[in-house]
């Protein structure tokens, strides 16, 4: 079965639509959503409604730190993120907020683990910045493949049975076989706010039979997404950064 995995959509409708369209065109049969549905972008309602629909039809979804921040005020965030979350809170209705509040921190599905930040302590929202961070996550789960996001920059790590690590910045469109006999941590780029220098929306396809992962990019209407942010009075940097992919 071909899985399409999305992370860090951040209220960016145009980016999420483009990813869903491309994933379906490539034959994706099942969707996994790794959290941070809201924050930064100007269409949180549409994104949450779409996620709810997908989940109703069998998609997997987990909670991100921005999703949590909608319902709590303890999360420490930078100023722009905080403004965006406060704005978002006022946009979501009760059902949408409940959906976000009830999302699980992680989903363990046979040999695959889905989590927003990393596996060692999902509630602490640690970033996977290095092979050392990746090792910490990998030793805390028996899963063959862990999928996570949170850092908005794609990376692929593996750990051998002798705990040796390798890291790779995956090339778009190239399928990589995730060999059995070692564990893998697939860190996804962001759908709605890429920060790896490529402004196109990032997601991943994973073939559960051949165990091959393909990092994909979908070009989308950045101009509209940025205008929506400006029109709604959100911090202008949140609009500007979209076209830079930073």
């Amino acid at each position: 079965m071909l899985l399409a995995v999305f992370s860090d959509i951040h209220g960016n409708r145009q980016a999420f639509e483009a990813c869903l369209k491309l994933a379906r065109a490539k034959g994706a049969e099942r969707f996994v959503l790794l959290g941070d549905f809201v924050g930064y972008g100007a269409d949180p309602e549409w994104v949450v409604d779409t996620a709810m629909e997908l989940v109703a039809r069998g998609a997997i979804a987990v909670r991100g730190n921005h999703d949590e921040a909608v319902n709590t005020t303890t999360e420490s965030m930078n100023n722009e993120a905080q403004i965006a979350i406060e704005w978002t809170r006022g946009r979501l209705d009760v059902a949408q907020r409940r959906f976000l509040a009830e999302l699980p921190m992680a989903v363990d599905e046979k040999e695959r683990l889905y989590v927003h930040s990393e596996a060692s302590s999902p509630q602490r929202w640690h970033y996977v910045r290095s092979t050392a961070d990746a090792a910490k996550s990998l030793i805390s789960t028996p899963a063959h493949v862990t999928f996570c996001g949170h850092i908005h920059r794609p990376a692929l790590y593996s750990m051998s049975v002798t705990a040796k690590m390798t890291g790779l910045v995956p090339k778009t469109g190239v399928s990589v076989p995730l060999l059995r006999g070692r564990q893998w941590l697939a860190v996804l780029g962001s759908v709605g706010q890429p920060r790896d220098g490529d402004p196109s929306a990032a997601f991943v396809l994973f073939d559960t039979v051949s165990c091959e992962i393909t990092y994909c990019r979908a070009p989308y209407d950045i101009e509209t997404a940025a205008s929506r942010i400006r029109e709604n009075g959100l911090p202008p940097w949140l609009a500007d950064r979209l076209s830079q992919g930073r």
């Binding site: 092979t131 049975v161 040796k164 390798t166 790779l168 090339k171 990589v176 060999l179 006999g181």
Partner: protein, 477 residues
């Protein structure tokens, strides 16, 4: 030897096991058959039981990732792989014959035979590097030849694929490979430079033409590290009849700094295909190794050859293409030849490692007997070589980047296409058809070349003249 887990007659995923044909330190090789596949097959099974070298597992994992992603005549076709969860294996095409290792008793080989042999291996490396793979274990026992003549590179257990995780990078603290053939930068942990394979091929060429290994057989790290500062004896100091062009090629492959070697395998293959055009530098004249003062300077300035920033293999190869420009030095209009030079100059300006082949076709008559001498009695072939060099002079190219060629053919387009194919030309620059009635009837060389070439083709026209009127009899190609 531990008992193999696989036995004759057993069946794995539809493959019936035949006999064990090789039992190496890392893996065993078995003949296998499959009802749906009618080519001879081999199953490679890694040694993974307790007490075995962990390197066997990691290098087999690399091979399982890389083999199914390779294509073409220079690699064994891969029919299937099995993972470590059940029975790890890879089923590959069985190449008939033996590896080049069997030739060691015949060394040194005649220079001409070694040239043709290594040119074929360079062509195979060109193809492999274009598939983003660096072999990292080029040596006689990794090389076979098809009956049709192409070199086939086998054993990808130490290879690096630029788009896949490099499992060997982190696995071993020490460089892993075959000591006599290992490039110096490998000792510094560099695994992503395709020119490491050119160094290994240089070792092989040195060995096959002199009978001596340039860096000996030392397996210790200490012995291997010497190649970071100590150059080998120049082949001419071992064999007085050693051709200077061949020493130039060998020593360029064996340069310590990868930047001083050939930039790509296809540029090496090009020189091996045209030995009379190899630019001879002081390398070709050397009769002694570098003086001790130079060696000591290198020895204690190792930091000076810092491994460069990680480069994409594909980008590195793309920056060092072989360009060919087709020129009509006799009938070609001066404006067209000037326009060709301007275009060539612009392309070269962006590619400091590109090399340029200037090609002219000496058209043979279909019926009349061709005379080598023209009406004035001078040799047409040499005249044209001179004219090509003259055309190229304003480009101010280093001689090692420029070659000139006169092809004799009845069909100029076919001759250009063949030249491009034989020399792995990446980009062909041709002039458009000129406006003459006769050429209109004969058809356009540029159109045929542009439509049939396997490489990029640029068709150049002189700047458009304001005076040209429609219907004035000018036919543009």
């Amino acid at each position: 030897m531990p008992k193999p887990l696989v036995k004759s007659g057993a069946e794995i995923d539809g493959y019936t096991i035949g006999e064990c044909v090789h039992a190496g330190g890392m893996a065993t090789l078995w003949t296998v058959t499959h009802p749906g596949i009618d080519v001879p097959l081999l199953m490679k099974i890694p040694r993974v039981s307790e007490g075995e070298d962990p390197a066997a597992i990691v290098s087999f994992e690399m091979e399982m990732m890389i083999l199914p992603r390779l294509a073409g005549p220079h690699v064994p076709s891969c029919f299937g792989t099995g993972d470590f969860a059940h029975q790890a294996y890879a089923v590959i095409e069985r190449i008939p014959g033996t590896t080049l290792y069997k030739r060691l008793p015949d060394l040194p080989l005649p220079y001409e035979e070694a040239r043709l042999l290594v040119a074929k291996i360079a062509a195979a490396l060109t193809d492999l590097h274009r598939q983003n793979v660096i072999h990292h274990d080029i040596k006689p026992s990794s090389i076979m030849f098809r009956e049709s003549g192409e070199a086939v590179l086998i054993d990808y257990g130490l290879s690096h694929h630029n788009h896949l995780p490099d499992l060997l990078q982190e696995e071993f603290r020490l460089p892993y490979g075959t000591a006599p053939y290992m490039a110096p930068e490998r000792l510094q942990g560099v695994r992503d430079d395709p020119r490491s394979d050119l160094f290994s091929l240089g070792v092989l060429l040195y060995f096959f033409t002199t009978g001596e290994r340039p860096f000996g057989e030392g397996e210790t790290l200490r012995a291997m590290r010497r190649r970071l500062w100590r150059d080998p004896y120049p082949p001419r100091s071992l064999h007085t009849d050693y051709p200077p062009w061949l020493q130039e090629v060998v020593l360029r492959c064996l340069e310590i700094d990868p930047a001083w070697r050939y930039p790509t395998a296809s540029q090496l293959a090009f020189d091996l295909a045209h030995p009379d055009q190899v630019k001879l530098t002081t390398r070709s004249e050397r009769l002694k190794r570098d003086p001790l003062s130079v060696v000591w300077r290198r020895r204690f300035n190792l930091g000076a050859i810092q491994p460069r920033a990680k480069a994409d293999v594909a980008a590195q190869i793309a920056s060092s293409p072989i360009l060919a420009v087709a020129l009509d030095t006799v009938e070609g209009a001066p404006e067209l030849n000037e326009a060709l030079r301007v275009t060539t100059e612009r392309i070269l300006a962006t590619l400091p490692s590109a090399r340029l082949a200037c090609v002219n076709v000496l058209k043979l008559n279909r019926i009349a007997i061709d005379k080598t001498l023209d009406e004035q009695g001078s040799n047409k072939h040499i005249d044209r070589l001179v004219a090509l060099r003259h055309w190229a002079t304003p480009l101010k190219l280093d001689e090692s980047r420029l070659t000139v060629h006169v092809l004799e053919a009845i069909d100029p387009a076919a001759a250009l296409l063949e030249f491009a194919e034989m020399n792995s030309v990446d980009h062909l620059i041709v002039g458009a058809r000129q406006g003459s009635f006769r050429r209109t009837l004969l058809g356009s060389v540029s159109a045929k070349v542009a439509s049939e070439a396997a490489c990029t083709v640029t068709v150049v026209r002189p700047p458009r003249m304001a005076a040209a009127k429609p219907g004035a009899g000018v036919v543009w190609g």
